[in-house]
């Protein structure tokens, strides 16, 4: 059984070492809303190329931690490091530009845009995002060429996630699960180095879920890093190399799935005797 | 360049209307004089503008009624009290071949119409109701007016207040638009020039829920007299607030904008402390005009109606004397028919005057609103103002002042 102290040692390790092996590191993040302490001195690091699970009871502060990492909220105190850089308090887009991209627990599709448009929006650094290139004659030709390439990649991704038949549908008309898929595939198109997924499988059909997990494994093999919040213990236990358990805003335990499953405190706080 | 000038002549010759005029020009008895009327018959000034337009049409109707051989084709257009529409309607007039027109009423319509139609198209306009001092600066060859400039009213007020009534300090509370700002400015300058002291000058926005604070502000240095420059739309509220909070002993002087019969009733106060000035319709033939108007329309003339009659009448005379429906020609005749020299004509003998002018005789128009003499800017050489006193819910003209610019 991995103890808390192990975790803390690894967290306190020299920055150089964790930078190479751990692209994302947070230390002592704290956030209060009104009187509620949502995140309370949370510290952990995520290993490169791994699938790390972030679990914990409802209200433990998982989504808030995501929000703090990705700049949706500014932390009251504490730091977020990504690839060795202090990204605390950066704007969401700045965080995403650095390759740290997230999905939302409650999906945020762009309702009146088609699925294709939703996906095309995701690509980073598109030439055509500069107004003048989109507008001026010669420059525009290059934009069009680039767009063709992007479109091709979009279609591939859509097929992969089995939502290509919805390509021209407005995203607002998708079903709950379809929205999750859209959001996940869209996040992938940003060419992230690391993805933070907030309950990506909630509401996704089990068969498709299996395919998605396969895909996530492929991506980790390609060097992507995943931090996944998920309540489905089967998903967590079968797919994560490493699991972080949050409770009441701070990290309760950390370790391999096996460690976690046998951790008394985790069982008491979260797993509820089950599993 | 000479080419182009020629071209213009040619094109005008080619114009249908023009050909008619030329053809009958030698026979003045049958010549058709074209006259435009461009007044706000709807919009902000709609209520004022319609009677003004009626009065402007009166000379033409009069000729018709009296069986004059001269026919005047009147084209009446509505500015809607908007500059945009005013310009369009003015362009319509020009397009119809109208060489001169009576208009417009509101200064902020008159100015754009002058700038973008009358002056460039070389068409004469004569406003019966625009009193903005700005109009003085517009090209005097095409832009005339029978209405007096507010620059004069400000001076008159200063003189009456300082010299006649002996008030040594004054404060001005004025509407924050061209009318209020210009009048207040002239008043303040004149009043100070005469040796008076202006304690405060406060501008206000129209149609506010209350003016108490503004009044408090303007009265904070206890002037001898308060000048209020407004229209009833805000004026009623101003006086209501004034009588609610301040001493009704304090003399107040208002401008023509507030000389309106129902005002004390709307204010619910006899307004005994109020007096005012307004341009007078004080031509030698004011009565003759009033009679004509009453006869035609069944009620007495209102503000600027006499000026409108005069504006149209002078244009008709100038047109006849010029012998053609051409703006330039009319422009050069405007002062000839209006300013001293020649047979005196006016509303009472207009039909005769018309024939004289058609024969090319020299005439001097003396009208309903004034003797109608244009200076080099196209403004009136002299005008007269009425001094009004409010009291016991009535308004009464107590005095008339002749004023030379």
């Amino acid at each position: 059984m991995t103890t808390m102290s192990d975790v803390e040692v690894s967290g306190a390790d020299g920055a150089a070492e964790s930078e190479a092996t751990h692209p994302l590191r947070i230390s002592n993040l704290t956030k209060t809303f009104g009187g509620i302490l949502a995140v309370d001195g949370a510290s952990f690091a995520v290993e490169r190329g791994s699938i790390t699970g972030l679990i914990g009871p409802n209200g433990a502060g998982k989504s808030t931690t995501f929000n703090l990492i990705t700049g949706v909220h500014a932390p009251d105190s504490g730091h977020v490091y990504f690839e060795g850089e202090d990204i605390t308090g950066l704007q969401p887009h700045q965080v995403a530009e650095r390759g740290l991209v997230r999905t939302f627990q409650i999906t945020r599709e762009l309702g009146e845009m088609t699925v294709l448009e939703n996906m095309l929006l995701a690509f980073k650094g598109q030439r055509g995002e500069a107004l003048w290139r989109s507008v001026l004659p010669v420059a525009r030709r290059r934009v069009v060429e680039e767009e063709r390439d992007l479109l091709e990649r979009v279609w591939e991704t859509l097929e992969l996630f089995e939502i290509d038949h919805l390509a021209h549908e407005e995203a607002g008309n998708l079903s709950g699960g379809q929205r999750k898929l859209l959001e996940l595939s869209r996040a992938l198109l940003t060419d992230p180095e690391m993805l933070l997924l907030d309950e990506p499988m909630a509401g996704v059909n089990p068969t498709l879920e299996g395919k998605l997990l396969e895909r996530i494994h492929d991506l980790t093999d390609e060097g992507y890093t995943f931090l996944i919040v998920e309540h489905d213990m089967d998903v967590i236990m079968e797919n994560c190399e490493h699991v972080i358990v949050m409770h009441q805003g701070s990290v309760l335990a950390e370790g391999t799935p096996a460690d976690i499953q046998s951790n008394e405190r985790v069982i008491e706080a979260y797993l509820g005797g089950e599993v | 360049i000479g080419e182009e000038e020629d071209v213009i002549e040619e094109s005008e010759d080619g114009d249908d209307e023009e050909e008619d005029a030329e053809a009958t020009g030698t026979d003045p008895d049958e010549r058709e004089v074209m006259l435009g009327i461009l007044q706000p018959e709807t919009g902000d000034l709609g209520e004022l503008g319609t009677p003004i337009a009626d009065a402007a049409e009166l000379p033409a109707l009069q000729l018709e009624n009296e069986g004059s051989p001269v026919t005047v084709a009147v084209q009446r257009e509505d500015t809607q009290t908007e500059s945009e529409a005013g310009i369009s309607r003015a362009e319509d007039l020009v397009a119809a071949g109208v060489p001169s027109f009576t208009g417009a009423a509101a200064s902020d319509v008159t100015i754009p119409v002058a700038e973008s139609v009358a002056i460039p198209e070389q068409v004469v306009m004569c406003s019966p109701a625009s009193t903005s001092p700005l109009i003085t600066d517009l090209d005097g060859d095409y832009v005339f007016r029978t209405a007096p400039s507010d620059a004069l009213q400000g001076q008159v007020m200063a003189e009456v207040a300082f010299e006649e009534r002996g008030w040594e300090s004054a404060a001005s509370f004025h509407l924050n638009d061209d009318y209020g700002q210009a009048l207040s400015e002239v008043f303040v300058d004149s009043f100070e020039e005469l040796g008076g002291e202006v304690t405060n000058e406060v501008a206000f926005e129209p149609e506010q829920p209350s003016y108490t604070s503004g009044l408090e502000d303007v009265l904070s240095d206890e002037p001898d007299v308060l000048i209020v420059i407004a229209f009833p739309v805000s004026g009623i509220q101003i006086f209501r607030d004034f009588y609610g909070e301040f001493s009704d002993e304090l003399p107040i002087m208002v401008t023509d904008g507030l000389i309106e019969d129902g005002l004390p009733e709307d204010v619910d106060n006899p307004m005994d402390n109020v007096m005012g000035t307004a341009p007078a319709a004080d031509g030698p033939e004011a009565d003759a005009f009033a009679e004509l108007y009453e006869e035609e329309y069944g009620s007495g003339p209102g503000v600027f109606n006499a000026h409108a009659y005069d504006a149209s009448a002078v244009q008709i005379l100038a047109n006849l004397r010029a012998g053609e429906n051409d703006g330039d020609a009319i422009s050069s005749q405007m002062r000839e028919v209006a300013n001293p020299g020649g047979e005196v004509v006016g509303p009472s003998n207009f039909a005769e005057g018309v024939e004289l002018a058609a024969d090319g005789a020299e005439v001097e128009y003396q009208g309903a609103s004034s003797t109608v003499d244009f200076d080099e800017n196209g403004d009136m050489e002299s005008v007269s103002y009425d001094i009004f006193e409010f009291g016991d819910f009535e308004i009464e003209a107590v005095e008339r002042i002749e004023f030379e610019a």
Binding site: H93, E147 | V7, G43, D177, Q181
Partner: protein
């Protein structure tokens, strides 16, 4: 068979929209010409809409005018007025569409930005002496760009604080800003200022006279150095020779050139807007409109994009203000009352927000039919019949009691200018209920330089139309 076709299912409908483009093309010669290139079907359709609307409105005005004896001259004037107004509206509606239609920035301070542009130019170009509100006396080619830049700059000042507030707050803030601008211009405090050792100022309520753009611009086209005394330019010689032959007056030529320049500007802005919309940049705008946080989380600097778009739109609004007032040679604060903004909104909504073509069509319909229509009709009625004019509606209704409807009709006709606003209101309401997307809004205009519906690079199992029922 034909019945079958029209009753086909929605998917087929979507297909037909694209196909319809070429079907409708021959409707106008312009489109026919474009059809030859065969590259941009969407362009043909769009141009078709605009041309058809223009023709329709022109025909209406001409027919009404001629029927009622306005004469060719009058009709021509009316057409020119309508064209000018429509073009001026189109320019500012396109800008508003960029703000609201695409980016979701609910700007109801349009009049304020127009005021900044117009006043900026007026102050720069008004003569240094000889008028009551002197300016800097600079030529118009300085005045126009600086006016436009000023409008953009004020846009920047407005958008910076407004970035973080939500849509309806943003609306009120822009409206308040527009009023602040108007009231400040109107205020006596800034009417005359000593600046740089010169008399300058806004003129307060009395406004500013400046050289008529309606003359200055055509003269720049026609004469060397913009001065008739220096002889005609090459273009000027051609134009003047032709118009001389036709016997058209020079002032008419100048007005026509001015209007054409404005129409040309509209065309340029239109093309640029279309390109903007159909581009990755336009996609960003749509993304911001739909969900800013989601767009941000995809790594897009939405604040920067919003600032860019807002400033750009404001600059175009400034340009529209300049050209609009440039026709009068005179600006005063009353030209920028909040109601102007609502006119512009009505025009945009008629056409359909989110559609550039809709913006132009809306401007045409608003200026040509709604705005100019009622007074036109009123004039015609007034010319044709002589109605009694009771002073109050009470008298008119009492007369009804004795079966005399004429006073009520007369009263109503007399009130047409006011009832026009009722008409605006009713149209706005009907549109929002029955066609909230306007005549052309919410067409599927892909936010991409490619026609997304047509292109599918890889041959997937489902066909071009999103075939939900294919599987």
């Amino acid at each position: 068979m034909t019945v079958d076709e029209t009753d086909a299912d929605p998917d087929a409908d979507a297909d037909r929209t694209a196909a319809d483009g070429s079907g409708a093309a021959p409707a106008s010669p312009l489109e026919g010409a474009a059809a030859v290139t065969e590259s941009r079907p969407r362009w043909q359709v769009d141009l078709g809409y605009i041309v058809l609307t223009t023709i329709g409105i022109y025909a209406l005005i001409t027919a009404l005018g001629l029927l009622t004896g306005l004469g060719f001259g009058g009709v021509f004037r009316q057409l020119q007025t309508v064209t000018f107004l429509a073009a001026a509206y189109a320019l500012v509606v396109l800008a508003l569409n960029l703000h609201w239609g695409y980016t979701g920035l609910f700007n109801i301070g349009v009049a304020g930005f127009m005021a900044v542009g117009a006043y900026g130019m007026a102050i720069l170009t008004a003569p240094t002496e000889g008028t009551t509100t002197p300016g800097l006396g600079l030529p118009m080619w300085v005045g126009i760009p600086v006016g436009v830049a000023l409008a953009g700059l004020v846009g920047l000042i407005v958008v910076l604080p407004a970035l973080r507030i939500r849509a309806d707050y943003f609306a009120i803030v822009t409206l308040a800003f527009a009023e602040v601008i108007r009231l400040t211009i109107n205020s006596g405090a800034l009417a005359d200022v000593d600046a740089f050792g010169r008399q300058l100022g806004t003129g307060g309520g009395r406004g500013i006279n400046f050289p008529l753009l309606e003359h200055a611009i055509p003269r720049w086209v026609l004469y060397e150095g913009g001065d008739p005394a220096q002889g005609a330019t090459f273009v000027g010689v051609q134009v003047l020779t032709v118009t001389n032959r036709l016997g058209i007056e020079r002032t008419v030529v100048e007005s026509a050139i001015y209007t054409s320049v404005l129409v040309g500007l509209v065309a340029i802005v239109f093309v640029l807007s279309v390109r903007t919309a159909n581009s990755p940049f336009g996609r960003l705008l749509k993304g911001i409109r739909e969900d800013e946080l989601a767009t941000k989380s995809l790594g897009k600097n939405t604040d920067l994009v919003k600032i860019k778009v807002f400033v750009l739109g404001c600059a175009i609004m400034g340009l529209a203000g300049i050209f609009w007032q440039g026709r009068n040679g005179y600006v005063d604060p009353d030209a920028f009352l909040p109601i102007i903004t609502f006119y512009i909104f009505i025009a945009l909504i008629i056409g359909g927000s989110g559609s550039n073509t809709g913006s132009v069509v809306g401007a045409l319909v608003f200026a040509g039919v709604l705005f100019e229509g009622p007074p036109y009709v009123q004039r015609i009625i007034n010319q044709v019949i002589d109605l009694p004019r009771p002073t109050t509606i009470y008298d008119a209704v009492v007369a009804l009691g004795s079966f005399d409807p004429l006073p009520l009709v007369g009263y109503t006709v007399g009130q047409l200018a006011n009832l026009r606003f009722v008409l605006f209101g009713v149209i706005l309401i009907l549109l929002m209920i029955y066609r909230p997307d306007g005549l052309l809004g919410h067409r599927d205009e892909p936010a991409s330089p490619l026609d997304l519906r047509a292109e599918r690079p890889t041959d997937g199992p489902s066909s071009v139309d999103g075939g939900d029922d294919d599987e």
